[in-house]
């Protein structure tokens, strides 16, 4: 258990101090880090150039300067990101990257307050057409060129191919990790599980893969213990801060699996191997193959039902979860539109479900606790 605790504690430290992670990486490599604002981006391009792509998912900060630029009904995560922009937190980055799958992100991409350059691109939403892949590959090519101009060097295709391999390996190990974590809820409470996953946003991926692989191997040596509590699936954009996740631990709940944009949606599918196609096209195909996210338009509803609802029902069965908790980031339109058609699918399948609000600004979680306690009581 000592090594297990060491690895988890090390990853928790990385997650708690991204600034240090960036500084250490910069010192070690002489290069730097690129901020990926929020959701999905071709991190492999920046990794291939030797830079560290880091996630920008906000933080628990009091909102003050951000109010000058955003009305109070902008989503909680973007309020926090704007606050950090104004505070100069991102100024240590070489560049930041915005993709714009929602209206708030479109606007955020147009009001960057940091000192480093901001790079923007657009994910197409008619995702199942080949024309969409062609469009996105071109967006990535232009993004790569703009970044090359900033760093003053070319990024070869071979390097991107290599990075795709490294990222796919990390995706595979993360899928394995979440399955293992579900088998060992006594080791991975929701906060620790989250730290292992989130640390991948602030570490070079091959290093992260190595550590998580070691962690999995060590954990598998431990005996599996019966879990007296409940098992749930988390769905939504993110389940933060730690105080929010701690409520589930206090209520005797373990995370059996997740459908969170910050977690499982990142590594649900690999970048596919497409013979004869350049690496940027392969990266574009990831977006086509990816489903079940409120920000990736679901056009295949006719006769099949929405992918996300059916996927959650399948997940609940596969992981023998007692219920699904929808973690609703405050003022997130895409998620708010999914909810009214999602929960009836869960109800119909007999899967208990609960919606709780995620607000990065709050520090007291008593209201969340009351709801989660009640939910646990309903689960019996």
């Amino acid at each position: 258990m000592t090594r297990i605790n060491e690895i988890i504690s090390g990853l928790q430290k990385v997650t708690a101090d991204p600034e240090k992670a960036v500084a250490d990486y910069t010192k070690e490599t002489g290069k730097g880090a690129v901020g990926i604002c929020y959701l999905y981006a071709p991190d492999e391009i920046f990794h291939a150039a030797g830079y560290l792509p880091v996630g920008m998912w906000g933080a628990t900060v009091p909102i003050s300067k951000a109010r000058t630029h955003l009305p109070p009904f902008a989503c909680s995560v973007m309020q926090a990101v704007m606050e950090l922009e104004c505070a100069g937190v991102y100024d240590i980055l070489k560049a930041v990257v915005f993709s714009v799958p929602c209206d708030t992100l479109k606007c955020m991409s147009q009001m960057w307050k940091g000192k480093c350059p901001s790079l923007t691109f657009c994910h197409p939403q008619n995702r199942k057409l080949e024309a969409s892949n062609v469009f996105l590959a071109e967006e990535y090519r232009q993004l790569k060129e703009r970044f090359e101009a900033i760093i003053g060097e070319k990024i070869p295709d071979a390097a991107i191919e290599k990075s795709i391999g490294i990222y796919n390996a990390n995706r595979a190990v993360m899928r394995e990790f979440t399955d293992v974590a579900a088998e060992y809820p006594d080791i991975f409470d929701p906060v620790k599980r989250h730290a292992v996953i989130k640390s991948r946003f602030f570490m070079e991926k091959s290093r992260h893969t190595a550590l998580v692989s070691e962690l999995i191997a060590e954990v598998k040596k431990q005996p599996k213990k019966p879990w007296p509590g409940k098992k749930i699936i988390l769905s939504g954009i993110m389940a933060e801060p730690d105080g929010f996740l701690d409520v589930f631990r206090e209520c005797g709940m373990a995370v059996a699996a997740d459908d969170l944009a910050q977690e499982g949606r990142q590594y649900r599918v690999d970048v596919p191997d497409v013979p004869g196609k350049e690496p940027l096209y392969r990266l574009a195909r990831w977006w086509q193959d990816f489903d079940g996210c409120s920000l990736a338009t679901d056009l295949a509803t006719v006769d099949k039902g929405k992918f996300r609802g059916n996927m959650l029902v399948d997940m609940a069965k596969k992981y023998r979860a007692d219920g699904v908790v929808i973690c609703m980031v405050k003022f997130c339109d895409p998620e708010e539109f999914d909810y009214p058609v999602l929960y009836p699918v869960l109800d119909k399948a007999g899967i208990p479900n609960l919606m709780v609000e995620v607000d990065l600004e709050i520090r007291s979680f008593e209201q969340v606790k009351t709801r989660v306690q009640t939910f646990r009581d309903i689960l019996g």
Binding site: N126, D298, L299, D333
Partner: protein, 427 residues
Amino acid sequence: MSEPVNIENMSAKEMLGYFQNKLDEEAREHKKNGKLVCWSSSVAPSEIFVTMDVALCYPETHAAGIGARHGALDMLEVTEQKGYSTDLCSYARINLAYMDLLKEKALSGNTPEKLAKCPGADIPLPDVVVATNNICNTLLKWYENLSYELNVPFILIDAPYNHTMPVAPHNKKYMAEQIRHAITVLEKLSGKSFDWDKFREVQKQTQRSVKYWLKIAEMGSYKPSPLNGFDLLNFMALIVCARSRDYAELTFKKFVEELQQKEKEGKYAFGDNEQQRLVWEGIAVWPHVGHTFKSLKSRGMLMTGSTYPNVWQLAYEIDNLESIGESYSNVYTNTCVQNRARVLGDVGELGKCDALILHQNRSCKLMCFLNQSCAEIVHDRLDIPYVLFDGDQTDPRNFSPAQYDLRVQSLQEMVTDQKKQQRSPKS
């Protein structure tokens, strides 16, 4: 169908009402005769649907009508009960409620009370829905849900956000490919081949409608102005719902003639009380449209500039799908802040405006999150003051008449002070 009437004798306002009703009636006839009915977002390529003889209904216009006739709250209650957050677009919430009530009626054979009481036009359920997200990505989620709830196909013409202008070549190609794909979907649904010759004529018709629409807006450049900018909000219904038919062209042409006649006779929108001229940015506050107008009118503040006309500035090369795609991508809300501010500034310049009023519309994040940034750019360019006020396009609970009046009053004072200073510059 109703008896043919002589539109020659109608005023533009009468024609507006007549054609709006006619469009709804045609949609009901289509439904009755087993022809396709489509619900469409306001700036989607209507040309291909009109070519295929698909009747189009427009949820945004429909919801605005319900809001303006004070029927919003009943509808909003339906969607709130289904779990839709009150933070979401109120057009979407009203339309999803209306859809739900129509569906209930179709399934049960009984008309739900809220549907019977609804003051909106009677439109039929769609067989297909189409959206172009050039005005917001909310449409993607809204139409996803319509498609899911009704089990009907969702045709998407995705318009990627333009971080730089003009629209990039790969973006135009993507738009063109999607239009081609949409045509194949419609051919499959209708069992008919696409008539490319008719398509050409429909494109030409659309261009004529757009031309007259922009001519109306130009009438605001006269000082004093014969055009009351709030009229644009009403006539907008036809540039949305009938730009690919001659209904829009005929009505707009008549309206332009009326305005030209008024100008000639010296009959101005506010008589001799046009004191200040405004750019209005954002959608109207439909449930309180009377209050917002009267508050301005009582102060002699006339709206002579609005970004609305530019939304349908759909100028393209005939028979060129990339050019059509570009025009639908080009909508100012789908472009970078510099271009948005340029459009807003151009509108202010054309309307010879003294001030800018911006609607912080709770329903529309895309329109209002960049209001402050755009207003600052326009202020620097045109040296005109601006105010923002809180409101909502159709949720009456999100608007405070007192706050609005106060902001309008402040704006007037700022303009008056500025004019005084301009008249007597400090030595």
